[in-house]
């Protein structure tokens, strides 16, 4: 490989995208590695973002497309970092490109193949509430807009191959190992949802109308499984009363994680407002412990939700949810800690806001790179106050949620910060070379 100045960015969510665009924008080469078939991350799954109520995909898509079109950025999607060696200024990286069984140079993203694929799979993008085929793009605005064959579910009927006019299907495709030479590495692997099935008192996984927030977000999204119509998946009815539970698995010394996931109070408020927009007669209750309104515009957002949208906030974390197996309706028990009364409430839908935790896969990545994780699985900062973006490995930086709980604006700012640090490493290397 040429020894041009390059940076490896691991993770194609908003943080990875921002870091890549900053670096590419100043003339540096970027390899953006993403393990799923498309970049976009969690933001692509959101309907709207708080507190501005921007359409998430609308503000994200231009950045995704810029990543795709930018001459300095090489997207390596459906890929994983396997090996990292060397040191700051001179890392050798091996990236495994998993076989999509599609020739990316030929695929036009037309979608003809998927129309003929007989296999239906619950799609990850819709949190398994919606359906895709075994040959698929994760969502319509995927970048790159290239199809992927899910080897696990594909039955090799080859209908896709027969119908593809671009002759892009290649069942002989092998995994490819790509060797890269980079000066710095940025880790931006984001988060996943804590498994709340463990909290059996809430019935997630057993009761059809108990959902987690990201599932609910997909129901609200125009691009989601119900086309953005707010319905219960169980019976197609429009809910008239919805309860949000905060802190499910967060702030816990047992059965969860000890930290505060920092975005849930406001994103629940956002989803609540969306409910009222979709179905004005639907009552919405948010059950909380401490309302986290510390971010810019958060308090005003919540005040609007209360005053203008009539969303009701109850200071209580419910003890349990019971299902009426005939109707699928739910009864929840809570102690209203302000009224000092223990009572029950009947609702049509319960939305749990689970703890957002660093991805399990980060452990693997951490050992590949030699990074330390803190007790909660976040990448450990070299100095939590003065070098939050640096890690224990010089030349490797981290940003976004995988560094610590934060929202989109903080992830974006920190991603630019990681780009700055990476640029410093390169500048240092350049000045060394000059001498």
């Amino acid at each position: 490989m040429e020894s041009e100045k390059a940076v490896l960015v691991i993770g194609g969510g908003i943080a990875g995208i921002q870091a890549s665009l900053d670096l590419a924008g100043r003339g540096l080469k970027v390899y953006l590695v993403e393990s799923s078939p498309s970049i976009g991350g969690r933001m692509a799954q959101l309907d709207k973002t708080f507190p501005t109520m921007d359409c998430s995909m609308c503000i994200l898509a231009p950045k995704m497309i810029e990543c795709f079109r930018h001459p300095n950025i090489t997207l390596l999607t459906y890929s994983e970092v396997q090996e990292v060696s060397g040191k700051a200024g001179n890392f050798s990286v091996k990236v495994l490109k998993k076989p999509r069984f599609i020739d990316e140079t030929r695929c036009t993203g037309c979608g003809e193949c998927a129309q003929h694929c007989p296999i239906e799979v619950y799609n990850e993008f819709d949190m398994k509430l919606g359906i895709r085929r075994a040959i698929y793009v994760p969502f319509p605005q995927a970048v790159p807009l290239k199809y992927t064959i899910d080897d696990e579910h594909c039955i090799k009927c080859r209908l896709c191959q027969k119908t593809c006019r671009a002759e892009a299907v290649d069942f002989n495709q092998q995994p490819q190992t790509i060797s890269l030479s980079v000066q710095a590495i940025i880790v931006a692997t984001g988060y996943e949802l804590f498994d709340v099935q463990r909290l059996s008192e809430y019935g997630y996984g057993r009761y059809k109308n108990v959902l987690v927030s990201l599932e609910f977000e997909r129901l609200l999204s125009a691009s989601g499984p119900t086309g953005g119509h707010l319905l219960r998946i169980s019976d197609g009815r429009i809910p008239r009363k919805i309860a949000f539970f905060q802190c499910v698995g967060s702030r816990s010394l047992k059965g969860g994680v000890s930290f505060c996931s920092s975005a849930c109070c406001v994103y629940a408020t956002k989803e609540a407002i969306l409910v009222r927009e979709h179905v004005p007669e639907c009552e919405v209750y948010i059950f909380y412990n401490d309302l986290k309104v510390f971010g810019k515009g958060f308090q005003e957002f919540v005040t609007r939700a209360k005053d203008d949208w009539g969303i009701k906030y109850i200071r209580a974390l419910p003890g349990e949810v019971i299902e009426d197996s005939k109707t699928g309706n739910l009864t929840l028990w809570y102690e209203d800690t302000i009224e000092n009364l223990t009572k029950d409430m009947k609702v049509d839908l319960v939305v749990l806001c689970p703890a957002l935790v660093p991805r399990v896969a980060s452990k693997e990545l951490a050992s590949v790179i030699g990074l330390e994780l803190d007790e909660n699985g976040f990448f450990k900062s070299k100095d939590p106050l003065f070098a939050p973006i640096d890690t224990n490995v010089p030349g490797v930086f981290t940003c976004g949620y995988c560094q610590g709980p934060k929202d989109i604006p903080e992830s974006v700012a920190q991603a630019s910060g990681a780009a700055a640090r990476a640029a410093e490493v390169i500048a240092l290397g350049a000045s060394r070379e000059a001498h």
Partner: protein, 532 residues
């Protein structure tokens, strides 16, 4: 040196008290060892008066009433007869001797009879010797405790200090749901604010069932029942006495057992042909079953069948268990009512006696004994040389090893109830289910609230048995009944007792909604093995 017998007498107002008056008026002498109390009717004499008297060192207790048919209150004296019969049995079990309690019918005019009875009774007591409990210190010995220190330590140890006031506990607690005034969260908050006086002098601390449902769900890992337990040690005992069911008799019995001079007579239940020994590798810890059997005999629960079934099963698989013939109460109820000093005494005695048998494995059919022996003794005294198993764990293992043969098809639809101590406290959920599922012809169904979400049988350590606990109990029984099962199986004798108690009373619902056949797991297994 011979000590003079101390006799406490309960004399009914209309007959026996008057009779004693006449003895005095007639100048008839009798030994001065009796101290008499007037009650309106001999039927007023509560077994707890008698037990307390003995616990405090009385050598004998005399209860005297009107002759049958003459009772001023129609049949109070007949009720006294029944009660004293039960009490006598308890005394016998304790090894105190049933003769220390005497019931006599003495009429107004029978002054001479009164004197004669006193003379006779005093003599026989003198022959029996003093009550072994006589020199005991006050049962509720309370050392000078620094309340603030106890609370501060407990706040830390049980994580109460980390409470986030979320209310999950109160909205999980079965009692809080029906008792508006009760909120574990509020109680915690009072302690955190150092305004604990209210909490220590109120009923809140004694309302907790210690069922651990709140602990199960608390995100801050607050172990509220353990906190409550620590505070009960320094809380107002007057309040406790007011709300303790059955006048605290079971607790008094446990305390009595502490005295080393007490030599119980508690082996009468052993079935014929049973093979047990004094020493052995395997010990069966029976628990307070013999006492429950006597005290709750009206419930017809056949409580001793539990112990008998265990022994029969063990024998059948080739185990000859050691049984302590002077086994003391494990101390569970004393621990959970805050009597830590006496709990420790019981613990040390039991551990010493178990050591003497050489046992390395203990099996028990009572979840409370199971928890206490396996967990609380270790916390108090350090690691033990023995392993503790619940009978369900042992049976599950034996079934796996093919050592158990089931001869009889039971053809029952069984619903299993997780008792708090076996379930949430100790995490034993699957072994009992496995055992039930292995019984031929048995279908196992589950209640909606099962395993870690199971609801307590409503009473713990005999405290706070009131209308709220009844509501919880009836709710639970309805839940069991609506599974369609025809048999409710538990592994806890107390659960059975408490449920039987509530269904024997006047019910707010139709009896058919709650009445269920109940069986202890060991008894069921013995039936299936054709050992009954």
């Amino acid at each position: 040196m011979e000590t003079e017998p101390r006799i406490v007498a309960f004399l009914c107002n209309w007959c026996s008290y008057a009779g004693a008056d006449v003895a005095g008026m007639s100048r008839i002498s009798y030994p001065p060892n009796v101290r008499a109390m007037r009650v309106m009717c001999s039927g007023r004499v509560d077994p707890s008066f008698v037990i307390r008297a003995f616990e405090t060192g009385a050598d004998g207790v005399l209860v005297a009433g009107c002759h049958p048919g003459d009772c001023h209150y129609v049949s109070g004296n007949l009720k006294a007869e029944k009660r004293m019969e039960t009490t006598r049995k308890l005394l016998k079990l304790l090894g105190l001797g049933s003769e220390r309690l005497r019931l006599e019918w003495i009429s107004t005019s029978e002054g001479a009879k009164f004197a004669e009875v006193v003379r006779d009774f005093t003599e026989s007591i003198r022959k029996m010797g003093p009550n072994p409990l006589r020199t005991e210190v006050d049962a509720k010995a309370s050392a000078n405790t620094n309340t603030k220190e106890v609370i501060s330590k407990a706040l830390r140890k049980t994580n109460v200090q980390y409470c986030l006031e979320c209310g999950k506990c109160s909205s999980s607690c079965p009692i809080a749901k029906v008792n508006e005034a009760y909120s574990p969260r509020r109680t915690v908050e009072r302690f955190l604010l150092s305004s604990e006086d209210r909490a220590l002098s109120g009923t809140d601390l004694w309302t907790c069932l210690t069922c651990f449902l709140c602990t199960q769900r608390c995100p801050s890992d607050v172990r509220y029942p353990e906190f409550v337990r620590a505070c009960r040690g320094i809380a107002s005992k007057e309040v406790m006495e007011e709300i303790c069911a059955h006048k605290g008799i079971p607790l008094a019995l446990s305390r009595i057992m502490i005295n080393p001079k007490i030599k119980q007579e508690r082996m009468g239940w052993l079935p014929e042909g049973a093979e047990v020994s004094r020493k052995g590798d395997f010990l069966y810890f029976v628990g307070c079953l013999p006492y429950f059997d006597v005290y709750f005999e009206d419930f017809n629960l056949e409580i001793m069948k539990i112990a008998q079934s265990v022994v029969k099963i063990l024998n059948k698989v080739g185990i000859k268990p050691a049984i302590l013939n002077n086994e003391k109460c494990c101390g569970h109820d004393l621990l959970w009512t805050g009597d830590l000093e006496n709990f420790e005494k019981l613990a040390r005695i039991n551990v010493a006696e178990i050591k003497e048998t050489g046992a390395t494995k203990i099996v028990t059919a009572c979840p409370e004994c199971y928890r206490t022996l396996k967990k609380d003794y270790v916390e108090l005294l350090g690691n033990m040389d023995f392993e503790v198993l619940h009978i369900s764990e042992l049976l599950s293992k034996l079934i796996d090893e093919g050592k158990i043969k089931f001869e009889t098809e039971l053809a029952r639809k069984v619903v299993y109830h997780d008792s708090c101590r076996l379930g949430r406290h100790m995490g034993v959920y699957e072994p009992p289910r496995k055992v039930i599922a292995s019984l031929p012809g048995t279908e196992l169904v589950e209640m909606k609230r099962n395993r870690e979400n199971a609801i307590c049988c409503g009473v713990n350590a005999w405290l706070s048995c009131n209308k709220y606990s009844k509501e919880v109990q009836i709710d639970r029984l309805i839940e069991a009944k609506t599974t369609g099962a025809d048999l409710l199986v538990t592994t806890c004798p107390k659960c059975q007792i408490h449920w039987k108690c509530v269904t024997s009373e006047k019910l707010p619902v139709d009896a058919s909604e709650v009445t269920m056949n109940m069986r202890d797991l060991s008894v069921l297994v013995a039936e299936a093995m054709n050992l009954a």
